[in-house]
Amino acid sequence: MEILTPEKLAEHFQAKIDADIKIEPNDWMPDNYRKTLIRQISQHAHSEIVGMLPEGNWITRAPSLRRKAVLLAKVQDEAGHGLYLYSATETLGISREETIDDLHEGRVKYSSIFNYPTLTWADMGAVGWLVDGAAIMNQVALCRTSYGPYARAMVKICKEESFHQRQGYEIMTILMNGTELQKAMAQDALNRFWWPALMMFGPSDAESKHTEQSMRWRIKRYTNDELRQSFVDATVPQAELIGLSIPDPKLKWNEERGHYDFGDIDWDEFWQVVGGNGPCNKERIEARVKAKEEGAWVRDAAMAFAEKRKLRQNQ
C-alpha cells in the first residue's frame, strides 16, 4: 500500500470536499477541520440546551393548557437537538464530559441570543418566530455541511424545528388580534428581540475570522451576511401581515438588489454579550452548572442500579 504524506492526505481530503463527498468519523481529516467542527458543533449543542432556559421559564405560566403542552413539546425537542449534536461532537473524539466542562468553565460559547431575558408571554411568540426562525435559516443551510454526522443531525433537527417557528408566529398573530394591551406586548417583544435575532448570524463577513476556511471546507455553505439577509427578507413580510412594525427606521425594500436594506447592527452590544456581559450570561451558566451538580446523584444511582441488575442477572 502506498504511504500517504500529510500533503497528499490533505489534497485527497480537499478533493473529497470539492466533490461534495461527506467526511465520516473515521476518515482522515486535518486537525484544524476537526477542531473547527468540535468548536462549532459543541457550541451549537450548548445553544440548544441553554436555549431551553428562557422558554422553560414560561412553561408553568403558559396561558392555556394547549399553550403549555406546545411549549413543553418544543422545549423537549430542544433537549433532543442538544443530544444529537453532543453525539455528533463525540464522533470527533472528544468526550461528552469534556465538552460540557468547556461550556461550564467558559471555554466555549453558546448563541448570544439566550443571554436575553424572556419578560412577558409575548416573548414566547418572539422567540419561536424570530429565534427559531433564525436558527432554522442557519440549520437548513447546514443540512449540506461536509461532515456526515453533523449533516445528519441537522436534517433531523430541521424536521423537528418546523413547528417551533409556527407556534411562535401563532402566538404573535393571536396577540395582534387581541386588545390594545396585547398588541403592545407583542410589539414590545419584537422590539427587544429583533436586533439580537439579527446578531444570531454572527459577525459580518468582513469581521468573521472563521468564515473563509469554513467555506473552503464546506462546513459553512453560506456566509453570515447572506443568511442574515435571507432572514430579514423572509421575516419582514410576516411582521407586516399581522400589523407589527420592525424597529428599524432604515429598513426599506431595495428594488434593485431584490432585498431589504436594513440599519446597522450594534456590534458593541454583540461583543459585550458574547464576552459575558449580557443581561443573563451569569444566570444561564449557573443554571447549567447547578443542573449538572444537583443531578449527579441521579446519574450515579442509575449507574449503580444498572450494575446491581447486571450482577443479579449473572448469578
Binding site: 433532543g80 423537528e160 447486571k310
Partner: protein, 95 residues
C-alpha cells in the same frame, strides 16, 4: 471518560413492519433497558418507529476507511454480477 460516565449506545429503529431497522443516532445510558427507554423518548417522538434496537457502541466492529479501496473496489470490476451485462435476443422484454 470518567468512571461514572454512562456508556454510549447506537440506536436503530424499524419505522414500520416489513422494513429493516435503520441507524438513527446514539445516546448515553447506564444499561440496555434505560437505553431503550431513552431512545423511545428522543427518537420516536413523532411516530418514527414501531421497534427499537440498541447496541453498545463499543461492541461494534467497523471496517477501516483507509482499506475501503482494497475491500470494495474488486466488486466494481465484476460487472457480470449485474443483469445488464447479458445480451438478450430481440423479442424478450422481461427476464
Amino acid at each position: 471518560m470518567s468512571a461514572n460516565e454512562w456508556p454510549l449506545w447506537e440506536v436503530f429503529i424499524r419505522s414500520k413492519q416489513g422494513l429493516n431497522h435503520k441507524h438513527v443516532g446514539s445516546l448515553r445510558a447506564p444499561d440496555a433497558e434505560m437505553a431503550l427507554q431513552n431512545a423511545r423518548d428522543v427518537y420516536t417522538r413523532r411516530s418514527e418507529g414501531i421497534s427499537i434496537w440498541v447496541v453498545q457502541s463499543s461492541l461494534i466492529s467497523a471496517s477501516d476507511p483507509t482499506e475501503a479501496d482494497a475491500l470494495f473496489e474488486p466488486a466494481d470490476t465484476k460487472i457480470y454480477r449485474h443483469p445488464t451485462f447479458y445480451d438478450l435476443p430481440d423479442g424478450i422484454e422481461h427476464m
